[in-house]
């Protein structure tokens, strides 16, 4: 036989939850889960996906990210330069140089496909989140800004051997 436990009707249960939560909020004993944001900063999880950073050195401007982007919010321009031969008498190598790498964060929907698809590990998620601007156009963040965020990328454990 199942043990019988008297149950509150559903609508009273809902009210009870609200009341309990109200007293929790008002009592100084319970810990408040809120962060008074502009005055105190939230400590986000180390691998939180706040914004996308770029390692411009690693980027080969292969355009894979720009092509995969569902919002078309990545703008890449580059050109090729000839490098001096590594050995005397050798052939001159051409090398891709990144001129422009902009992400329009007004369009970006943070799907992370660009990070997934990058073959040279040039794009990273960072927990940085304070990059709002006063107008829409300024949400187009350029290469230098994306490079700055690279410092906030947490260390990875490295790839599997």
């Amino acid at each position: 036989m199942k043990d019988f436990r008297p149950k509150l009707p559903g609508f009273l249960t809902g009210m009870k939850i609200l009341l309990v939560n109200m007293f929790k909020t008002l009592s100084p004993l319970t810990k408040n889960p809120n962060v008074n944001y502009p005055f105190e900063k939230e400590i986000v999880a180390p691998r939180a996906r706040g914004v996308i950073a770029l390692d411009a050195e690693a980027c080969t401007s292969c355009m894979l990210c720009a092509r995969q982007c569902p919002d078309w919010c990545i703008y890449i321009e580059g050109h090729k330069e000839l490098q001096p031969p590594s050995k005397p008498g050798g052939r001159e190598r051409s090398r891709a140089v990144l001129d422009r790498f902009d992400i329009d964060y007004a369009l970006c929907m943070y799907c992370g496909i660009c990070v997934e698809v990058c073959p040279f590990d040039a794009l990273f998620w960072t927990p940085e989140y304070e990059y709002s601007e006063y107008n829409m156009g300024a949400m187009l963040h350029d290469k230098n800004r994306l490079d700055e965020w690279l410092k906030t990328v947490p260390e990875t454990g490295g790839l599997e051997n």
Partner: protein
Amino acid sequence: MSFGTEILIKVGVVLAFALNGAVIFTLMDVKGSAWMQRRPGPLHVGLRGFIFPLAEVIKFIQKEDIIPTKVDKTVFKLAPAFILFSVFGLFVVVPISPTLVVADLNLGVFYLLAISTISTLGVLTAGWSSANKYSLMGGLRAAGQLIAYELPLILAVVGVVIQAETMSLVGIVEKQIEWGLPFVIAGQGVAFVIFMIAATAEMMRIPFDMPIGESELVSGFMTEYSGIRFLIFYIAEYINMFVMCAIAATLFLGGYHIPLLPVEWVNFYGPVSLLTKTLLLGFILVLVRWSFPRFREDQLQNIAWKILIPLSLLNILITSVMKVVF
């Protein structure tokens, strides 16, 4: 004191009472809901956010009052006034203490129910004159709902009137003092619940906010309103909530009197007592608002016609039988 001065003072007192009540209830709704959801609520407008309704009023006054081209201009402009008129009218008969009442009418309850019906007119004209399909739908829904819930409201009060043998609100409270118990315990418990449900529907607050229903009708009959006229709707909602709670406290919870306290001092503790009861009822309304989902239109009508009205008729029957027997 001349008649004119007296009227002026009474109007001033009613205005002060109504608007302060609206401010208190706005605060209770906003702050209370925030606390119930583990948020601090408005924090930055002075005194830890406790004067934010004033900022709200200033914001609405300095906004542009947009009147669309195709609306019926006179009706559109007058509609908020109807609602404000109706809710201010309700204050006239609510006694704060046996002597502190604007007018102790012999037909107080009748007056209350009659004057509260005028807000239906305001809502319907607002919905109709806006020349907007959402407003019209909202106005029609509001009319259906307000008419449906007017009946249980009236029938619930009839039980109280039968038990108290008077229609004057002061008389009803005196009767409760005589009985020693407020009517909610002494026989009108069902009527109280019916009254509160019907009053919530009359206020168009959340479990019954089909006419406003922002997810389907934008904002119902208020869609086209902006600036100060929207503010009037907004304030009227809270004044209505305040005065309905005050009426419920007067009719069912013993009004300005608390059992076991000496009746001679009622002029001193009366206002505090009534305000406390009003705030308690208001708090229950806030609690209900944040724990219930919205009723669908047919469910809403079913509750009114199939449950509340038969129940309140039964309540009247039992009350009158008891009255005759004892």
